[in-house]
C-alpha cells in the first residue's frame, strides 16, 4: 500500500504530464464526494420481483382474455408470490421496519418511492384477489362457499385486469427510483433505464409462462420473451456504451460481470423460446434463463450505480466538463 501510494503521488504514476496534471482530477484526499446508497441486496431483489409481478399480471390478463387457463393460473400465482416477496424486501430494507406504515403519511409525486408505495397499495390487493380466484374450483358447489365459488372467477378477472392496468407503472417506476438520485451512473441513465426494466419485466414474466404453461398455451409468452429480451438488451447496451465516463462502472467489476451474464442469458432465453417451441424442456430452460437474466440485470445496474458513487472521479469530471463548456463562452470567474 505504502509503496504504490507513494508512487501514485508522483505525476508519472498519476499518468499525467505537468500541464495535464494541473487540469487533472482533484479531490479531498481521494475521498468520495457522494454517499453511496446504503441499500442492501433487498432493493435490487425488489426491482426484480416487482418487475416479475408486473409482467406476470399482464400475461395473466392476456391469458384470461384469450382463454389460456394454465398460463393464467401460473402467472397469477407468480404475480402474487412476487408482489409478496417485494413487500418483504421493501420492509426488510428499512432502518426502522416497524415504521413502514409511515410511507402512507404522504403522497409525493417528487418521490418515486412514495409513488411506488401507492402503486403497490393498489396492485398488491388486486393481484392477490386475482390469484385467490384461482382457488374457486376447489370450493364446494353449494352453500355460502358455493356462492363465493361462483362469484370469485368474475371478481378475479376484474381485479386481474385492474392489476394488469397498474402493472406497467409498477414495472417502470423503479427505474425512476434509481435515476432520481445524485448517483452519476444511475441519473445519467434515466432515459434508457425504464426500458431496461420494462423489457426485463416482460422477459421474466414470459419466462414464468414458458416454465409453467403447456406448449399449447405458451405462444404469446414466446413472442413476449423475444420482444422483452430485445428491449432489455438494446436499452442496457446503450447504458453501457452511450454515456461516456459514467458508462464505465457498468462495464467493470461485479456490475460488468453480471450485466454480461444477463445479456448472454437473455439472448439464449429468447432464442430458446423461439427454437424450442416444440420442446417442453427447452422451453422450460429458456424460461429459467430469462428469469435469471432479469435478476442479473437488476443487480448489475444496481452495482454499477454504487460503484459510480464511491469514486469521486465520476462526480467531479463530468461537472468540470460542464463548467468548462459553460465558461468557454464567458470568462467570468465562477
Amino acid at each position: 500500500m505504502t509503496a504504490e501510494a507513494t508512487n501514485a503521488a508522483t505525476p508519472e504514476a498519476a499518468g499525467a504530464r505537468p500541464d495535464v496534471a494541473d487540469r487533472g482530477l482533484r479531490s479531498y484526499y481521494g475521498r468520495p464526494i457522494l454517499k453511496a446508497p446504503v441499500w442492501r441486496h433487498d432493493i435490487p431483489a425488489y426491482l426484480f420481483t416487482g418487475g416479475l409481478a408486473a409482467g406476470s399480471s399482464i400475461l395473466a390478463a392476456g391469458a384470461d382474455l384469450t382463454g389460456r387457463p394454465a398460463m393464467r393460473r401460473a402467472t397469477r400465482l407468480a404475480s402474487l408470490a412476487a408482489v409478496g416477496a417485494s413487500t418483504y424486501f421493501l420492509i426488510h430494507d428499512l432502518g426502522r421496519p416497524k415504521r413502514f406504515h409511515h410511507m402512507l403519511r404522504v403522497a409525493k409525486p417528487t418521490s418515486p418511492m412514495s409513488v411506488g408505495t401507492w402503486i403497490l397499495a393498489v396492485f398488491g390487493p388486486a393481484a392477490g384477489l386475482a390469484a385467490v380466484a384461482e382457488a374457486a374450483p376447489l370450493l364446494p358447489r353449494h352453500g355460502v362457499l358455493g356462492l363465493a365459488g361462483r362469484a370469485l372467477p368474475v371478481a378475479g378477472t376484474a381485479s386481474g385486469y385492474l392489476a394488469a392496468g397498474v402493472a406497467p407503472a409498477l414495472a417502470t417506476y423503479t427505474a425512476v427510483l434509481l435515476a432520481d438520485t445524485a448517483v452519476p451512473s444511475w441519473h445519467e441513465a434515466y432515459p434508457q433505464l425504464p426500458f431496461v426494466f420494462a423489457g426485463s419485466a416482460l422477459a421474466s414474466a414470459s419466462g414464468v409462462g414458458l416454465l409453467a404453461a403447456p406448449l399449447s398455451q405458451s405462444g404469446p409468452a414466446r413472442r413476449l420473451a423475444v420482444i422483452g429480451a430485445a428491449m432489455e438488451v438494446a436499452a442496457s447496451h446503450r447504458i453501457e456504451t452511450g454515456m461516456g465516463l459514467v458508462s464505465e462502472p457498468y462495464t467493470q467489476g461485479r456490475a460488468g460481470r453480471r450485466l454480461r451474464a444477463a445479456r448472454a442469458l437473455s439472448v439464449a432465453g429468447a432464442a430458446g423460446a423461439v427454437l424450442g417451441r416444440r420442446n417442453r424442456l427447452v422451453s422450460a430452460l429458456s424460461g429459467a434463463a430469462l428469469i435469471a437474466a432479469a435478476a442479473l440485470t437488476r443487480f448489475g445496474i444496481f452495482d454499477g450505480g454504487v460503484a459510480s458513487a464511491k469514486d469521486p472521479k465520476y462526480t467531479v469530471t463530468p461537472q468540470r466538463q460542464r463548467l468548462e463548456q459553460a465558461a468557454a463562452g464567458d470568462h467570468s470567474p465562477t
Partner: protein
C-alpha cells in the same frame, strides 16, 4: 404552492413549502479565509445536538481526523496543506531554506487510503483515488507557473517556496431545491419556515433514499439507530431566536449565521476585499440562486476549487429531470402494454 420553479431555478423555498407568512430565510456563510481550524464548530454541534462521537482514528489528512460529514459529524473541518504562496503573505517563508521537494502530494496520497469507522452507513469510505488526492495537495500554483509540474518533481534546494494551509468547516447546504427532501417517501425530511431542511426523527423510517439523492454527500444513516441524520441548522435554537451552536462558538466568526440576503451581501464584499488584497483565488460557492440547486442556504468563501475541499464543482439537483424521467417511464409502460397486445393478438385470434 406549486410554481414553475418548484423543481429548478430561483425560489423562495418556505413559500413554496406552504408557509404563508414565513420569516426571512436563515442560513450560514462560512468564510474559510479566517478559519483557524479549531473544530469548535464540530464539538459545539455535538454538544447541543447530542450527536454520538465518530470514533478514534488517525487519518493523516493533515489535522482532519473526522474525515467527512456523517450522521455522527454534522460539521466537518477540512485541512489541506499546499506548498504554494498564500495570497496575503508578503514574504515567502521558506525562501533560502535548504528545503527539498514538498511531501504534501505523497502524504495526501497515503492519507487517501486510511480507513475510518464513523459508526454510520456508508460513513466516510477511503477513496482509492491517491492521484487526485496528490493533486489536491499540490495546489493550483502550477497554473501560474507552467514550467514546474507537481511539487515533488523538482530537485535541489529552495523547492518549497511557501506553504498555504487551507481550513474549511463544511456543513449541510440546506439547498433551495433539496433532493433529500423531495425523494423522502414519509415526509420525515421537511422544509422549515426558515427555509432550512430538517429530518424529523419521529417520522424517519430509515428507507435510505435521501442518502444517494444528496449531491453533496451530506446526509447519512446511523448504525444501530437506522435513521438518517444531518445538520438541522439548530431548528430548535433558531426557533427561539438563538444562534446555531456552531456559529455561536466559532472564535473568529468564520461561520456566520443570519438572514441569507444579508449574508450574501456581506460575502460579496468580503470577496472583493480579498481579491483587492491579492487573494485572487477567493471565490464564493453556493451563493448563486441560479445554480444547479437554486442556491444553498449554507454557502462558502473558498480559496481553491470546490473539489479540493471535497465539494462537487457544479452540483445539479436530480429532481430537475424528474418530469422527463416520469415521461420516459410512461413511454416504457405503454410500450409494455403494446408489446403484450402484439404478443397476444399474434395468431391467437
Amino acid at each position: 404552492m406549486v410554481g414553475e420553479n418548484s423543481l429548478y431555478g430561483p425560489l423562495d423555498p418556505a413559500l413554496d413549502a406552504g408557509y404563508a407568512d414565513a420569516p426571512a430565510r436563515m442560513g450560514f456563510f462560512t468564510d474559510t479565509s479566517i478559519c483557524i481550524g479549531c473544530k469548535a464548530c464540530e464539538v459545539a454541534c455535538k454538544e447541543w445536538n447530542l450527536v454520538p462521537d465518530h470514533g478514534l482514528s488517525l487519518l493523516g489528512m493533515s489535522f482532519d481526523n473526522t474525515g467527512a460529514l456523517t450522521a455522527n459529524s454534522w460539521r466537518h473541518v477540512a485541512f489541506i496543506e499546499q506548498p504554494i504562496p498564500a495570497g496575503q503573505r508578503q514574504s515567502p517563508p521558506f525562501r533560502d531554506t535548504p528545503t527539498g521537494p514538498s511531501s504534501e502530494p505523497a502524504t495526501a496520497a497515503l492519507a487517501a487510503t486510511t480507513a475510518i469507522d464513523t459508526g454510520t452507513i456508508p460513513g466516510a469510505d477511503p477513496g482509492g483515488e491517491p492521484e487526485s488526492a496528490a493533486r489536491m495537495a499540490a495546489g493550483p500554483a502550477m497554473l501560474g507557473m507552467p514550467t514546474s509540474g507537481l511539487p515533488g518533481r523538482q530537485q535541489g534546494r529552495e523547492d518549497r517556496k511557501d506553504l498555504r494551509w487551507l481550513m474549511m468547516s463544511d456543513v449541510c447546504k440546506h439547498c433551495t431545491h433539496a433532493a433529500c427532501l423531495d425523494v423522502c417517501p414519509t415526509g420525515a425530511l421537511f422544509r422549515t419556515e426558515f427555509g432550512t431542511v430538517v429530518v424529523q426523527q419521529d417520522i424517519c423510517n430509515g428507507c435510505g433514499y435521501c442518502i444517494p439523492a444528496c449531491p453533496y454527500g451530506v446526509i447519512d444513516q446511523r448504525k444501530g439507530d437506522g435513521r438518517a441524520w444531518k445538520c438541522t441548522l439548530c431548528y430548535d435554537r433558531i426557533g427561539d431566536g438563538l444562534t446555531p451552536a456552531c456559529a455561536q462558538a466559532c472564535p473568529t466568526q468564520s461561520i456566520q449565521y443570519g438572514p441569507l440576503d444579508e449574508l450574501r451581501e456581506r460575502a460579496e464584499g468580503r470577496v472583493a476585499d480579498l481579491r483587492a488584497a491579492g487573494q485572487t483565488t477567493a471565490r464564493l460557492y453556493g451563493h448563486d440562486p441560479n445554480d444547479g440547486v437554486g442556491g444553498d442556504g449554507a454557502f462558502f468563501l473558498l480559496l481553491d476549487e470546490p473539489e479540493v475541499y471535497g465539494l462537487p464543482p457544479d452540483p445539479v439537483v436530480t429532481t430537475r429531470d424528474l418530469p422527463d424521467m416520469w415521461k420516459r417511464a410512461g413511454f416504457a409502460a405503454l410500450t409494455m402494454l403494446a408489446a403484450a397486445a402484439v404478443a397476444f393478438v399474434g395468431r391467437s385470434a
